[in-house]
Point group: C2
Chain length 374, copies 2
């Protein structure tokens, strides 16, 4: 009856949601989670300076934010020792991935990513009519050579790789990534998602060369800076590409408090250092909990640890469900063979106490239910 | 050299900006404005309850916002006496207009609006390849009959009208708007932008019929609720259309503080009432300043007043420039004949004192410079 004339592309798109939020699950369950360690948010929160900056800015919320994000762009430029003209600020990496897809992806455009990599990238590519080509993970890591071969075969203008990777927490060193950048075919673009790079060992991120038209690097205030709810991230790229975002972006789209908070967070690198230490400690603890339960954890360069449950998807799903029933919000990888794992964000001591307490009982329950009756 | 393979549409889009922000102008001038009364922001700010809610939420900013905007959607549903399924929340009306254009506009899609109406709508339509058809204003108001005739002629799937109007401040009563809604051709959609409707007289907005597939109504927390920098607004529409936004929207795109602030602002209707009174007083004052200077002000149902400078575009531009030189941030309509006017947002008493002080001197300076020498 409504019969609105949606575009042919929209008419065939599913109303898909890349992720179900924890609040949605809580409403479905009818009770809150006791630990929120499923979305790789930073439970350690933002810098107190960022909190203070946002609080101070609330009385100025009647003003639109600066559409040029001037102050933050200049601060980031100084921080990375590049020009402000090489930086585009947007509504989180999610928002920027949407703009990037819009710039480069039309009906049938081939786009290359890893099978099981970030679903929101796929959501945007599909949303603009792109055709996804996926390379499998290799040893639980994205496979640069396979991605490159696929991109060459399909003549893809856009290639996605996250380093470190989500959902496995694996990473490549700077030499491997630089080699990938250097091998991107002329006229193609590597979308290098570095959302978790602050947590990675030295030598993970290659030096930034903002004049290179073959790569755009995305960073965010959502993870290490603890501001996921603020929706602010940035891309570093060659100037022509940065300017192209001005053709399509929502110029006044960044929240004013996010601008103020991000600036203050960036200027508190000491706090970032503390967060990194606490995340490292939490990773160690999660790995220990895994071992205590006879499970293997994967090495991680992120603020989460992926635990190999040692069996198939159904088993990992049962573990996840058991933990969720015990009020722990967690997620797991979407595709095989990664989905033999569950993924645990770096939690507070209390969060991880709850995990340590719940996991043995979950595993025991599964063991009881699957042991053949005598 | 970069040679990235932008879509054909993007390749031909200009890197346009719907509006230059006041901060950009301040940087260009090298000094700040003394009064910020050019972007129809609410100088009276948000409810203190909204400020408190945002401040309290800053420590939870490490969490992504609820992608379903559940609480706010339900509160708005209760407020408007409709179902939550008829409400889509987004990153301000600007963000929602972008999503709407994406749903309905492809290469060459005809879209109808008024000549000189909201440029950000045009930005989005053009950005998705749409072809704009414009009807002129009639008596400084948008002309529903002309829009309708144009939509019929061009078989346009999307028609834009703001009521009250920006930049003129004019409005139609509910009967006229309801007649327009009832006349929208089957399969077409009226995008009814009601960003300023809280400031309008009773009887401006027709009753909400959320089951009507011919209209989507946009409201915002940016204007009367004083939260322009928060980037949060909503659309009210038939359920299928609301669900369609889930195909394309940035699900985690709304800032968590904005969600909390909007909810608190909505729940403080007493404060909204105060703002409306202060805006009404400011409108009266702006009109009086115009009269004191021999100019005519237009009636307004918004938080701004459009002043007819009585001559052509060049004259109005000179007045605007003079005021800007005297540190008042103002804007003016973009096209003829509306651009014989300047537009003044409802300011504080101090803001309007500055206007009252500056305007005579600006007009005198122009008069001196244009009087033929003897």
């Amino acid at each position: 009856m409504s019969g609105l004339r949606y575009t042919p592309l929209v008419a065939r798109l599913p109303a898909s949601v890349p992720f179900v939020g924890p609040e949605t699950r809580e409403r479905g369950r009818g009770r809150p989670f006791a630990a929120r360690i499923g979305a790789n948010e930073s439970v350690f929160g933002p810098s107190p300076r960022a909190v203070a900056a946002m609080q101070a800015e609330t009385t100025a919320i009647w003003r639109y934010g600066d559409p040029e994000n001037h102050e933050l762009r200049h601060a980031l430029a100084a921080f990375h020792e590049i020009d402000p003209e090489n930086i585009v600020i947007g509504e989180g990496i999610d928002g920027l991935l949407g703009y990037l897809a819009r710039l480069l992806v039309g009906e049938g455009t081939p786009v290359v990513t890893s099978l099981g990599a970030y679903p929101t990238f796929n959501y945007h590519v599909t949303g603009y009519g792109g055709r996804l080509y996926t390379a499998p993970y290799k040893d639980d890591a994205e496979d640069p050579d396979a991605l490159l071969a696929l991109a060459r075969r399909e003549n893809a203008p856009l290639i996605y790789l996250a380093n470190p990777d989500n959902p496995m927490g694996s990473w490549h060193n700077a030499t491997v990534i630089q080699h990938l950048i250097d091998s991107i075919p002329e006229g193609s673009l590597l979308c290098l998602d570095e959302a978790y790079v602050e947590f990675a060992p030295e030598g993970t991120a290659p030096p930034i060369d903002a004049s290179n038209p073959s790569v755009i690097r995305f960073r965010t205030f959502s993870k290490a800076y603890g501001m996921a709810g603020a929706r602010i991230g940035y891309g570093i790229a060659e100037q022509n590409l940065v300017r192209s975002f001005d053709k399509v972006r929502n110029h006044f789209g960044v929240n004013r408090l996010a601008q103020a908070g991000a600036l203050a967070a960036l200027n508190d690198q000491a706090y970032l250092g503390e967060v990194k230490m606490r995340v490292a400690a939490a990773r160690t603890r999660i790995a220990a909990i895994a071992v205590d339960n006879g499970l293997r954890s994967l090495p991680s360069a992120t603020n989460f640890v992926t635990i190999d449950c040692g069996h198939d998807q159904a088993y990992a799903q049962a573990v996840l469900n058991g933990l969720i029933e015990r009020d722990l919000f967690l997620r797991m990888p979407f595709v095989s063979p990664q989905n033999r794992c569950i993924r645990v964000s770096a939690g507070t001591d209390h969060d991880l106490d709850l995990l340590a307490e719940a996991l043995p009982s979950v595993l025991a329950t599964i063991a009881r239910s699957t042991t053949p009756k005598p």
